[in-house]
């Protein structure tokens, strides 16, 4: 599924080491920046109608996940962010090393700190500010992560990306034309 010619792609700036799969949907007119070594799965959606989207390096954006820029200030995903399947993200910022697990909804203009973990199906209300190392678990319960596993998790993420780069065909040139 090639991007339709009728809807022009937003200005894309893609790092050459990033991996873009087939059938990614970009919409909007603000620029979308994708950092080095980042993997975008097929059918991930990027909507930059209201603002730019900036994705850092070593991130994974999974299938059916929507990233929507909440405003002119845009959506910033820092490095080492893992976004799993079926998420709906309208955050202003997601801090370094955070992991957003399956089906999470992140409300408009919320700010997620560094190394946060949002466990599956949790919901972050609009405009929330999550401090660093917050874990959202259970029925939107919160606790602070003191496990000191950041290095280990980032290492795992790199291995994950490594594996995906071997498995997924890179169709980045499709979007850079």
């Amino acid at each position: 599924m090639a991007p339709r010619s009728s809807a022009p792609l937003p200005p894309l700036s893609i790092d050459p080491t990033a991996l873009l799969s087939d059938a990614i949907s970009f919409s909007g007119s603000y620029p979308v920046t994708i950092g080095s070594n980042t993997v975008l799965h097929p059918r991930s959606k990027f909507n930059s109608t209201d603002g730019p989207i900036i994705i850092g390096s070593n991130c994974i954006i999974s299938e059916k996940t929507q990233l929507i820029a909440p405003g002119v200030d845009g959506l910033v995903l820092e490095d080492f962010v893992l976004v799993e399947v079926n998420c709906h993200i309208q955050a202003a910022r997601i801090g370094e090393g955070s992991s957003i697990e399956v089906g999470v909804k992140v409300g408009k203009a919320s700010r997620i700190g560094n190394n946060c973990t949002l466990s599956p199906l949790s919901t972050i209300p609009d405009g929330t500010n999550l401090p660093d190392f917050t874990v959202i678990y259970g029925e939107n319960d919160r606790r602070i992560d003191t496990s000191d596993t950041v290095t280990a998790r980032n290492e795992t993420l790199l291995a994950h990306i490594d594996c995906l780069q071997k498995l997924l065909p890179n169709k980045a040139e499709k979007y850079t034309r």
């Binding site: 973990t117 466990s119 874990v135 678990y137 259970g138 319960d141 606790r143 992560d145 003191t146 496990s147 000191d148 596993t149 290095t151 280990a152 290492e155 291995a159």
Partner: protein, 666 residues
């Protein structure tokens, strides 16, 4: 802060109850199988189920007040060509009913208005007074008792010997094996008895969120390092869901080895409560040693232990002599000597700590109750060992035959025996004919059409009668219910059978399904008929229900329709089987020559007329507020449709059929 000894010991015993009770108490509480998943029990019945309309629950015969007797009755041959009449129903009632119909349903007045309509031509038009009279004879889904026997068909078993549906209440469980759901190791029952009902290997759950804990090194070891380096400790238990680690405890709990965690934990966390338990255990074991009786297995000993707390109080051995016990020796057991005191300073400490650390550092009720020592602070939590689970076989309570028997190997999910009701009784499903119907707010006085589908799991064609009271019973605001074609045939579940025969023997005597172009007038209003299912239309006209307090309490707006399903079919029977005698609901009418439907296979097997029946309850939806413009068209809708039971008098199929089809297309 002064609590008597007995009570305290009781508390401790109770705590142990949860953690390590021997099997002989038969109290492996937490791993009860989820036989009633999603199933309502009495009080929360209407609330839990209301979310998912429509639903169909089948009433187990144990709903009847009568005892379950499995005697064979004097069978009454039933002719499929003749529709049941009032006379049929009024046949002298056998001592044990053939069907789960309530006893008082049969004599005198008929329970279904349809039966009257068939028998008497003059009183075909019923009046409402009579209906009201009959109401109490019908199955009442609003009845408090009914909720206990109503189950989705998936939860029901079927006893081939009793020919009865069996619900979880009608079966006895037997434990086949204990196993840990996490490491899938089987635990022998002797170990369960001695070590309790938790995994003693390396399976631990997070005390914060109950996810499984994994072992990770405390200090990050790069993956490039050698295997020997990776085995170097210390180690943490880590929850990958909420990122809790044993280092979060105070003092931090770290393990030296990544294996044999239970042993390490036992060493590292000597809890005061465990010590207390051991002291008590030792004390009472000693007492028991004196009594020279198996404490855990003897009811007499248990009575004696209970006597300690109830009648006699602390140090009550002096009163024991006064008890007259048949064979019970003089009570010699003593309470443990030293009372466990509640230290005031310790309590004050806790209060201070709470004030200092705030609410977020304290445990919630669930976390607290999950732990034997009931910690008040998160830092006092301990990893909890995984509870064992059981595989169980199930027996029919009446005849003791096994209904379910799982493979005893833990890793396999197969069953050796599994007699589920789905394979024996036709299953009903209901859906809206008109997708615009809002199940959560049905419009009063409006005719809602639903499609009721009966699916036949049997390899014989069946004929089905669906009987329903004209007005829903058990409510002050009865809704009118009409099944447009209450008696019809459902084809055999043949295809699978065909395939099986094809692959083994070539010339197979396949029972032919009923001809599709059936000109039987009974089929006149059947909506759809396919291989092994038939759909008919059911019309529901909900009553207007005021929003009063009483109506809310009684949940009058929940619209549940009881339907009596009666199934008849001819089954091939083995001769030996026949000698064994039929069971509760099947009735034999002698051997037929198997003409007709068997297709002349030339196999002179005995044919048996089988009939069985059950009540089911269709939860259609919830009645909403009245809508303007839709008004009562009582007493009848313009279209006169046959009600509930087949009518002998010539139908007017055109009248009832044509408008229906039109509506469907529209």
């Amino acid at each position: 802060m002064d609590i008597s000894i007995g009570v305290l010991d009781c508390c401790i015993l109770e705590a142990l109850w949860h953690s390590r009770l021997p099997k002989s108490f038969n109290l492996i509480l937490e791993d009860r199988p989820q036989t009633r998943v999603g199933h309502p029990t009495s009080s929360n019945y209407h609330f839990t189920m209301s979310a998912s309309f429509p639903y169909i629950h089948i009433s187990c015969p144990c709903n009847e007040e009568r005892p379950q007797i499995m005697a064979v009755d004097s069978a009454r041959p039933l002719s499929p060509t003749k529709s049941p009449t009032k006379r049929d129903f009024a046949v002298p009632v056998p001592s044990t009913p053939l069907t789960p119909v309530k006893r008082r349903l049969f004599p005198g007045t008929s329970s279904f208005d349809g039966t009257v309509a068939t028998s008497g031509d003059a009183d075909g038009e019923r009046n409402d007074e009579e209906d009201d009279e009959d109401e109490e004879n019908n199955f009442d889904p609003h009845d408090q008792r009914a909720a206990f026997s109503l189950f989705p068909i998936e939860n029901l078993l079927y006893c081939e010997d009793c020919h009865q549906i069996r619900c979880p209440r009608c079966v006895t469980d037997e434990i086949v094996c204990w196993y840990c759901p996490s490491c899938l190791f089987e635990v022998p029952s002797s170990t369960v008895k001695s070590d309790g009902n938790r995994c003693t290997r390396n399976c631990y759950l997070c005390p914060i969120c109950t996810a499984l804990l994994v072992v990770i090194p405390v200090n990050h070891i790069p993956s490039s390092s050698s295997a020997a380096e990776q085995q170097q400790g210390p180690f943490n238990l880590f929850c990958s869901h909420c990122h809790w680690t044993t280092s979060d405890l105070s003092p931090p709990l770290q393990l030296e080895k990544p294996t044999s965690i239970s042993a390490q934990l036992a060493k590292v966390t000597p809890s005061a409560h465990d010590a207390e338990f051991n002291r008590l255990k030792q004390h009472y074991a000693q007492q028991l040693g004196n009594a020279q009786e198996d404490f855990t297995n003897s009811p007499a000993a248990l009575t004696r232990l209970m006597g300690l707390y109830t009648g006699l109080g602390a140090g009550g051995s002096g009163h024991a002599g006064g008890r007259k016990g048949r064979g019970v020796k003089k009570l010699e057991m003593k309470e443990i000597d030293r009372p466990r005191e509640v230290v005031e300073e310790r309590e004050m400490e806790i209060v201070e700590q709470m004030a200092k650390l705030g609410i977020h550092a304290t445990t919630n009720t669930k976390q607290r109750l999950n732990q034997p020592h009931e910690p008040r602070f998160l830092s006092e939590l301990r990893p909890t060992a995984v509870l064992l689970r059981t595989k169980r076989s199930k027996r029919c309570r009446a005849c003791r035959h096994i209904l379910v028997k799982p493979e005893s190997k833990v890793q396999t999910t197969r069953f050796r025996i599994r007699l589920v009701a789905l394979n024996y009784i036709p299953s009903l499903t209901i859906k809206r004919l008109d997708p615009s119907i809002q199940l959560s707010s049905l419009v009063p006085h409006k005719t809602h059409r639903f499609l009721l589908t009966v699916t036949n799991p049997l390899f014989d064609p069946i004929s089905v009668s669906l009987l329903t009271p004209r007005y829903t019973p058990g409510t002050d605001y009865p809704s009118r219910v009409t099944i447009l074609c209450p008696e019809f045939d459902v084809g055999a579940n043949t295809d699978v059978w065909d395939d099986a025969l094809m692959s083994t023997r070539t010339p197979a005597p396949v029972p032919t399904p009923p001809p599709q172009g059936n000109k039987d007038p009974r089929m006149a209003t059947v909506y759809e008929q396919k291989r092994n299912y038939t759909s008919v239309v059911i019309e529901v006209v909900p009553a207007e229900i005021p929003d009063t307090r009483v109506a809310r309490i009684r949940d009058e707006r929940l619209l549940e329709i009881p339907i009596f399903v009666r199934v008849e079919f001819e089954a091939e029977v083995d001769r030996e089987d026949e000698e064994g005698g039929g069971g509760g609901t099947s009735s034999t009418s002698g051997k037929h020559g198997a003409p007709g439907s068997s297709g002349g296979g030339g196999n002179p097997l005995g044919r048996e007329k089988v009939e069985y029946s059950y009540w089911c309850v269709v939860g259609v939806g919830r009645v909403g507020d009245p809508v303007e413009g839709v008004v009562a068209s009582e007493p009848n809708t313009p279209v006169r449709t046959p009600v509930a039971t087949p009518v002998k008098a010539p139908r007017t199929p055109g009248v009832s059929k044509t408008p229906l089809r039109q509506q469907v297309r529209a």
